[in-house]
Symmetry: C2
Subunit: 174 residues, 2 copies
Amino acid sequence: MKRIALLSVGAAMVGIATGMASTSRQAQQPVESVLDGRLPAGYRDWRLISVAREEGELDDIRAVLGNDAAIKAYRERNHPFPEGTIIARLAWSYDASEENNKTFGRRQSFVAGHPKNGVQFMVKDSKKYASTGGWGYAQFDDGKSVLDAQRIAMCYECHKAIKDRDFIFTNYAP
Amino acid sequence: MKRIALLSVGAAMVGIATGMASTSRQAQQPVESVLDGRLPAGYRDWRLISVAREEGELDDIRAVLGNDAAIKAYRERNHPFPEGTIIARLAWSYDASEENNKTFGRRQSFVAGHPKNGVQFMVKDSKKYASTGGWGYAQFDDGKSVLDAQRIAMCYECHKAIKDRDFIFTNYAP
């Protein structure tokens, strides 16, 4: 607790000193909270890993963000990912933008609409999640944890296919 | 110069104290540098505003990132955007992912491939860019500034259509 308090003070000091929104809050985010049913408060501030589009039933446009451990490991090509890595998958409806199309003069533009298909997380804790490749899986729908064990187990079933890259499909977009 | 040096020291201290990658470098990034032909060193660390897909000639998948001023203004619905706001548009090739499709058991997945269509910036400086709605426009191809005045002028020609939202098409993806 003392260490966390000290980090808070340090972060606050710099927030004031530089006059910017500090993203250092994530340093205080315990890895466990993600799978304890609490949405990590700062995940929307995490840095971008990549973007994607899923057709079919998912029908969304998505962004994959990572905490500092994730971004560092991606950039240094440090696999397997270190303990404490958290990767977040956000998704939104895939909406044709009439506004953009009007300006372009043709139908070509699709943008992110409302949040869709929940927010998913992968959390690296090799001991705790040894039975699922060292990663815990979590999903939040409308900010609420989806605790359906069967549904979560399905995550690992698919991610097993990419064991060679430490179970992570998403590559870093330069 | 003295103030910048002090901020550097402050940022470095917290980088050490929290053991995390500091994104505070952007506080030292002069707005002018974007349009002086220098790619802002920290823009890839900026936070996500939204994602989009462009078909047609552009044929890319893209992410729009913002510096702290941009993110704050978006979240507080503070329009017009304050001086010093910088918005970055990154884009990548729109690649079908055979790897993902194999796992999904159907063709549905498209991911970001190689960087494409340059990196574009909008910089808010109402005085300097009064003739183009208070925003300066810049583009970097392979990290090099595109100084073609005619090409840059085309940016404003299209963005004029969205004057009611301070010339910014992209909405914040929650």
